[in-house]
């Protein structure tokens, strides 16, 4: 099932006839305090709602997809958890230590929205296409056997990233947390439609030019391992999202006027636009320097993990 947010704070499902069926009224029985409660309610009560929603999807008869304005299906997750480089990137390097960071859940972008580049003096602004896992229930300390049970579905994600801000040598994460820099779309696909999350192909096209093009089969830590590890650290809530990291081979700049199409096979495709009041320009095409640097960097193999630094 595909779940969309559309028009003025409406939640819908995409029917079998490819129309958007409005289910906002169905969700009123959970007495939402505001529109931000609708999606968590849908996720939390999905098992109970499923028969009714399936009937509605089969009946169809909604508004055509062209006739609605889609938004990010995730309105305001309580956590956006992002994996640090989590792909082998075509190398046979040893597995790296798992690491992650939190991205600001404020000011999320969705299909057709505009990512606004801030005036900050970044070296470059990159697109990073990823598949993201939407959490289905409160979860802590999941076992591998339980992990997939806590998954609700999947969504396509673009982790827009400003480089070169913050402390040098630290790989600052804050450049990923500007308002509008978390882009989700076009809908949440429930997990039953994705038999194998490690067999998805992910692409980015900027103004029609192919940039990223990789498979989730290259992921270092698969979804089940991400679920067990992260839940060993933090309690997960319905609607939280785990972004599985990107393959850096194919990153490129985002700049004023660009149309960036992010696609995850089996999930869907969505476009974001880019606006930069400062009209900065970078080389177009794939950023080869970044691609080579990341490929060469096996600097965090599991065996070498020791010590640590304070902050």
């Amino acid at each position: 099932m595909r779940i969309v947010a559309f028009d003025e704070q409406r939640i819908g499902i995409v029917g079998n006839d490819e129309t958007v069926v409005d289910i906002t009224d169905v969700l009123q029985k959970y007495e939402p305090l505001g529109p931000e409660d609708l999606l968590p309610d849908l996720i939390t009560h999905f098992d109970e709602l499923k028969p009714e929603l399936e009937r509605m999807a089969a009946a169809g008869g909604g508004t055509s997809l062209d006739g609605v304005r889609l938004h990010s299906p995730l309105t305001r997750p309580s956590k956006i958890i992002c994996l640090m480089g989590n792909y082998r990137e075509g190398t046979d390097r040893p597995l790296q230590v798992l690491d992650l960071f939190f991205k600001s859940p404020e000011g999320i972008s969705g299909p057709g929205d505009t990512v606004v580049l801030p005036p900050h003096q970044a070296d470059i602004f990159h697109h990073e296409a990823e598949v993201a896992v939407v959490i289905g229930r409160e979860a802590k300390d999941l076992t591998a056997a339980e992990a997939m049970d806590a998954v609700f579905g999947y969504v396509a994600f673009n982790d827009v990233s400003a480089r070169g801000l913050g402390r040098s040598g630290i790989n600052s994460f804050l450049g990923k947390s500007f308002d509008t820099f978390a882009a989700f779309g076009p809908w949440i696909v429930t997990k039953d439609e994705i038999p194998d999350p490690q067999a998805l192909s992910i692409t980015v096209d900027v103004n029609g030019e192919r940039r990223q093009d990789y498979s989730t089969s290259d992921m270092e830590r698969p979804v089940t391992e991400l679920m067990t590890y992260i839940s060993s650290m933090a309690t997960l809530h319905p609607g939280d999202v785990i972004c599985c990291g990107t393959n850096h081979q194919g990153l490129g700049s985002m700049q004023d006027g660009d149309a960036v199409v992010t696609t995850v096979s089996g999930v869907g495709s969505f476009t974001i636009h880019v606006r930069d009041e400062h009209q900065r320009a970078w080389q177009r095409g794939v950023d080869r320097e970044t691609a080579e640097r990341v490929k060469a960097s096996a600097q965090h193999p599991v065996a070498a993990a020791s010590g640590g630094s304070a902050s």
Binding site: L100, S104, I170, N171, S177, D179, H237, S309, S311
Partner: protein, 297 residues
């Protein structure tokens, strides 16, 4: 005014030796879970300050009960990277911050539970915390920025070292229970100068950290201006201003950790480690020396 949230979900004003229930001032604020209530209360507080103070004046004082964190689950927990000169005369470092899991918060007299992860050590970091009271973006780096605050509180940024990728990792700060907060939100008018506060932290009665916010590299208003240039701040967001690493030490099973910020309050928590690991007690001099040597980044 010092606003607290009691264990049984009452809102109260903390005064010398007692509290006065002011829940009535927020009776119309709808919420689903107690954890999600405070951001709504803080958003409403701006216009209800007078009413709350009237209730506090007229109400009957009661002994201080158990308290929750003043924001049990903040919309965002944002933390500054090392933001103190640490007694050196070095140039200010490049300003930088990161986000922590909002599920890491616990309240006064809560228990920090050390996880079954192979950290090299678990440190305490006493910090001045800012609690946001209104939606804000692009705040100026002057006193007008303080208008965005509901107030100040104490935070212990518990930090597991040696996890994740060496250098950049901040993963060890986001375990559940690793951000004790409280006891109260102390409104801005009670703190004439946030850059003149003494911060102390003791473990089992042994003094570890003792420093002044006068040593901060980027002042509170600069912290607010910086982070709001990146992201929209919303009521209930908590911003940790960084720690002075001179005086960090281990926290381990059975420890009682107590921190105080003058004018802001005292926050005490316990530590539990199911694995009963042990580290040297006292100040971690190696970390302290390494942090003094920083300053080139």
């Amino acid at each position: 005014m010092k606003l607290v949230l009691t264990s049984d979900d009452r809102l109260a004003v903390l005064e010398d030796g007692g509290i006065v229930d002011v829940s009535e001032a927020f009776a119309d604020v709808r919420y689903r879970s107690a954890a999600d209530r405070m951001p709504r209360v803080l958003a409403a507080l701006v216009d209800r300050r007078q009413r709350v103070e009237d209730l506090a004046r007229r109400g009957q004082s009661m002994p201080v009960p158990g308290l929750q964190a003043p924001v049990p689950r903040p919309p965002k927990v944002i933390a500054a990277f090392g933001n103190y000169r640490e007694g050196s005369d070095r140039e200010r470092q490049t300003q930088d911050m990161f986000l922590e899991s909002p599920d890491s918060v616990i309240g006064p007299d809560g228990t920090v539970v050390l996880p079954n992860h192979q950290a090299s050590i678990f440190h305490h970091e006493a910090e001045l915390a800012l609690v946001i009271g209104r939606r804000a973006k692009d705040l100026p780096a002057d006193d007008r920025a303080l208008d965005a605050l509901a107030g100040y509180t104490c935070a212990i940024d518990v930090s597991a070292r040696g996890l994740g990728r060496v250098g950049p990792s901040r993963i060890g700060k986001s375990f559940d229970t690793f951000t004790p907060l409280g006891p109260a939100i102390v409104t801005v008018d009670e703190v004439p100068d946030p850059q003149d506060l003494q911060v102390t932290l003791a473990v089992n009665g042994e003094m570890r950290q003792t420093y002044s916010t006068a040593d901060m590299e980027y002042r509170v208003v600069e912290v607010l201006a910086f982070i709001s240039s990146y992201m929209t701040l919303v009521p209930g967001d908590v911003i940790l201003c960084g720690t002075n690493h001179q005086g960090l030490g281990a926290v381990q099973d059975g420890d009682r950790v107590e921190m105080t910020i003058e004018r802001v309050g005292t926050l005490a928590v316990s530590v539990s480690d199911p694995l009963k690991r042990e580290w040297p007690r006292g100040v971690d001099q190696e970390t302290a020396a390494r942090q003094r040597a920083v300053g080139t980044s």
